[in-house]
Amino acid sequence: MLAFTVRRIAQAVLVMIVISFIGFAVKYAVGDPVRDLVGVSVSVEEREKLRDALGLNDPFMVQWGRFLKDAVQGDLGRSYFFKRPALDVIVNKAPATLELVLCSAIIIIFISIPVGIYAAVRPNSWVSRFLMGASIVGVSIPVFLTAIMLIYIFAVGLNWLPSYGRGETVMLLGFWDSGMVTADGLVHLILPSVALSSVMLPLFIRLIRAEMKEVVETEYIKFARAKGLAPRRVLIVHAFKNTLLPVITVGGVQLGTMIAFTVLTETVFQWQGMGFIFLEAVERGDTSLLVAYLVFVGLVFVIVNTVVDIIYGLVNPKVRIAGRK
């Protein structure tokens, strides 16, 4: 297990280095740190002096080294538009995105598990058939269309829910700008999280159903019944635990997709999260912010995937024990 963990972490570090390289290459090619610092109304001589002072005429690798050093300490450049350190801007907006993802994840877990298990255990009921059909349709509707539809029906048409923004937020612990502790914020969270979860829900339902179906046919389930265990225990402890493995693996990968989809969802709902800021940065040519987002999101992905891998290793006894030898 230890060897496994170490390998995973080493891989994570390697990936981060590659990402930082790509990010830096973009910055080098397009960015203008001088402009970021002092704006546009500065003379050419001043600029040249600044360039030298900032070490911008140094060779590529040297600059990259500097970039890395700064990055590890949390300095990813300055946002031209916001006139603040880029990382600050992103971290400031991160809670918005993370809360959105969290709510969607909750919806997904609480709906896909019971529905998936039900569809596996009673595959021929009309409820199951309907849900399977709905899930194919669901997969075919892009997330932004779902979002637009939801807005049109619930906000514009029925006027039950707000159509944009986060509503009222409260600053928790001095840095986490939370919308989950106010009723208004929660109400604003509903439509976006539903839209976001609509992408993953069909996938997870089908996955859990397929896995459960396979597991239920196995010999050890039959043996569990032959031992006289209560049906519920057979289902949950024996069957479901075996489906957890593939579900976790897929889930981990899908988390990445979810973060990608937050970019789309935030656009539709004018949700002031990281994805929204990112797109604005692209529009404005705010390179530092763009690169900072790349690196930050890259880091999040890498951490999440590594954690998922390690959890998988813990849950799957074969990996855990094999590492021991």
């Binding site: 194919i136 269309l145 049109y152 514009v156 997709t257 990608a260 539709v268 763009l290 890259g298």
Partner: protein
Amino acid sequence: MGVWNTFRQSFFLYSFLRDPLAVGSLVVVVILISAGFLSPVISPYNPYDTTTIDIMDADTPPMWMEEGDPRFFLGTDSQGRDMLSTILYGMRVSVLIGLGAVALQALLGIMVGLVSGYGGGRLDAVLMRIADVQLSFSTYMVAIFIGAIFKTVFGVGLYAQVAVPFLIIVIGLAEWPQYARTVRASVLAEKNMEYVEAARVIGLPSGRIMWRHILPNTLTPVLVISTVQVANAIMSEAALSFIGLGMPVNRPSLGSLIKIGFEYIFSGSWWITLFPGIVLVLLILTINLLGDWLRDYLNPKLYMH
């Protein structure tokens, strides 16, 4: 004639015709795609020709509504372009990009999968690690990143000119791991089979073995994922266009149309979003259904193989 007859009597055709959903989907797909490719011929207007567009016609509702104009069957968008024509042209772009991107993914992925699976060893380990890592970033994210970088580096003007090939490249690069892994799995399974041993014993070079012997057997799973990948590619392009990293607004695809429409949804021009949206969903849905049918059909045979 012989091939046609074989096809006509094949089990494939037989089971296909028995499934109404599959047949229906194929019909719809064919209609949509042909409409898209025939768009220059069948659409009432050319939405790219700025001389035919009059801004005064903008925001006209569909023909059957009160303020509708019989000239514009489905109404016009914010620039005065006829919706029907724009949708047709947009569909052509979407399908073109979808097919192109999948062709690229398949090409890259198959090559990598073959080399990786057959070669084995360190090369295999490295290639698959790269594929895994890229997959873990989710293809959408990769596409968005690459798109953002390209747009920033090349600027908006140049970008508009190269949009179509660019999108094909972006989506193609984002999704090759899927193909690579599928092909590699097939290759690994085939590699140990007797006919490969036999070929090696005769002294055939590796390349020949890979190409002539193993490749045909890996095509079945490739075919299965290809349909779904086309649907995915179309969806990716729509998503990229929607956030502004895709087709530019003067040559809109279905995704960009939806984006335009969204900005006007509160002012009441619902048709600019609805019709492209319906067409997009229909296209993706029917391709997915076909892919599902194909997978179900091929699956038991995959095991019997």
